[in-house]
């Protein structure tokens, strides 16, 4: 039996479909710059963390299979710390980390026909002196990556990411409070608007999507395409908001921290 170009194409397509199908139901991760730092926000169904510190001025968030996210997270942390210790913390940049260490590794797995591709979509954020100098990178399961300015989103579909980014671009937040509100709105948007056609049709035509086996454990997407409804329903189902920030002007040794419930309560009031 011969292996034709057609077969090759077919298998590639199947791999992509396999992964994209599993990413669709994941909880989006939204990252946005504001004057005093960068906010990365998501909703998690259980105890599993979604937003992680990588290095002094780097953080990441992802959707996909938790085991895949975990191995990539550790690879990112290992590489960053080795570089930062042997050279200088100033030499650890997201551009170098993604371009030379992580992307080639993911690409290798993706190209290996006998391995299951990593099921994930990751957003990286690097804080610098001003919001304009902040860097964002979004990387997919095939190792492809793209730089972004000011904000970046990973969500179930490219369409959902576009919609959420439009929300962030319009909000252009300056304070943490504004950033939180914009990020929640963007999360709801990314969750509610997976494709141009209404989510309702989607639901009817694709009953197999129920109970997808992705690691995020998210429920089926909400029926309405209203961001506020999507958020309210997620919160009602017991999802928790997880928000990590990198602070530009802190005197603390760690720039990264997770916001606590007290800090999140005022912005969540509208959705309760």
């Amino acid at each position: 039996m011969s292996y034709s170009l057609y077969d090759w194409n077919q298998s590639l397509q199947q791999r992509n479909e396999y992964v994209e199908d599993r990413l669709k139901d994941g909880s989006p991760v939204v990252a946005v710059s504001y004057d005093d730092g960068i906010l990365m926000l998501s909703l998690r169904p259980g105890q599993q963390r979604k937003v992680y510190e990588v290095y002094d001025r780097l953080m990441l968030g992802a959707l996909g299979k938790q085991s895949d996210i975990e191995s990539l997270r550790i690879a990112a942390i290992d590489t960053a710390h080795r570089e930062g210790f042997e050279r200088s913390p100033d030499d650890v940049s997201i551009q170098r980390l993604v371009g030379f260490a992580l992307s080639p590794a993911i690409k290798r797995v993706y190209n290996d026909q006998s391995a299951i591709p990593l099921t994930l979509r990751i957003v990286f954020a690097e804080m610098n002196r001003t919001p304009d100098e902040d860097h964002f990178f979004v990387m997919g399961y095939d190792g492809e990556f793209a730089p972004h300015n000011r904000h970046a989103v990973v969500a179930g579909t490219p369409y959902a990411e576009e919609q959420a980014e439009a929300v962030l671009a319009e909000a252009a937040p300056k304070t943490l409070d504004e950033a939180l509100r914009a990020a929640l709105n963007a999360w709801g948007t990314a969750r509610a608007r997976l494709s141009p056609k209404s989510a309702e049709d989607d639901e009817e035509f694709d009953p197999l999507r129920e109970g997808g086996e992705n690691g995020d454990g998210g429920d089926a997407p909400p029926v309405s395409d209203d961001p506020a409804v999507a958020l309210r329903e997620a919160l009602k189902d017991g999802a928790k908001v997880e928000a990590g920030i990198l602070s530009r002007n802190t005197t603390r040794e760690s720039k990264f921290r997770l916001l606590d419930e007290k800090e999140l309560a005022p912005v969540l009031e509208a959705y309760q």
Binding site: Y52, E53, Y55, D78, H81, G84, E86, R252, E253, S254
Partner: protein
């Protein structure tokens, strides 16, 4: 697939293959120890390592306060008068360093990475005991160099223990053994000269732990000034302002320059040392 030399245990030493620098051939120099100081006076400059001098940690009502002079010496030469000897390892841990400057810097850089690497990869902070052992291991690894008098590092580690809700101070010997102290810790060439004064202060003025920040700061800076007067290697506050940092429940904070300058001016305006001739 994706590499993982840290083996998932958050072990930073394994990740970078780090081990304490080993001293050159022990036969080169006779082995005699002098913690914090240099064994061979030399002519300063190139022959000896640069050394940091006096650092002090005392408890106070809200936590721990650390002060240190800014001087670094090489033999009898003053090499640098802006040395930073009170260094944050993470949000709740301060290390005050004395002894070989190069080794201390290397150790600080290593520990900062080791603590953060652990926390970031394991998603929980390293325990206080874990941190103390890590520092002990590093000092023990450096012991051969220390015995030859070419690189002893004697740190004082202060931290805010959030479980017990109190500040704690630990000091180490050159072999890496650690001791917890109730009230104060000091290290460096000037520390021996002032050791008894700590005891005198706690016996006459009450324990440091009951003082407010400004009182503790004044006592600590006075002690540092006495060390500068009695020890040739410690820098006085009249030339370069010392460094002072506090650790409390809220984390680490610098004592602002304004406050420092006020307290230092007050100390400097007092009578000179009792050993000076009378009549000023």
């Amino acid at each position: 697939m994706l590499s993982n030399p840290g083996e998932g245990r958050g072990d930073f030493a394994a990740l970078v293959g780090w081990r304490s620098p080993v001293a050159p051939d022990a036969a080169v120099r006779p082995a005699f120890a002098s913690p914090g100081g240099t064994t061979s006076p030399g002519d300063g400059l190139a022959q000896t390592n640069i050394h940091g001098t006096t650092v002090i940690a005392v408890k106070y009502r809200d936590g721990v306060i650390n002060v240190g002079d800014r001087r670094a010496t090489g033999g009898f030469a003053i090499m640098y008068d802006k040395a930073e000897k009170i260094l944050a390892l993470d949000d709740y841990t301060l290390m005050a360093i004395s002894g070989s400057f190069s080794k201390a810097m290397e150790i600080t850089r290593y520990l900062r990475h080791a603590f953060k690497y652990y926390e970031r990869s394991q998603l929980q902070p390293m325990s206080l005991d874990g941190k103390l052992s890590e520092l002990g291991k590093v000092i023990a690894g450096n012991q051969m160099a220390a015995l030859q008098g070419i690189g002893a590092v004697i740190p004082v580690l202060s931290t805010y223990d959030r479980e017990r809700d109190e500040g704690r101070i630990f000091f180490y010997d050159a072999g890496g053994a650690r001791f917890e102290t109730g009230e104060y810790g000091a290290a460096g060439s000037g520390s021996t000269q002032i050791r008894g004064v700590f005891e005198y202060i706690t016996k006459t003025k009450g324990p440091f732990r009951d003082m407010d920040r400004d009182t503790a700061l004044r006592e600590a800076l006075t002690l540092l000034e006495i060390a500068a007067d009695l020890d040739a290697a410690t820098g006085g506050a009249g030339k370069v302002l010392p460094v002072a940092k506090t650790i409390t429940r809220e984390g680490i904070e610098d004592v602002d320059e304004e406050t420092l300058r006020t307290v230092v001016n007050e100390i400097l305006s007092r009578d000179p040392l009792a050993v000076s001739p009378s009549g000023r």
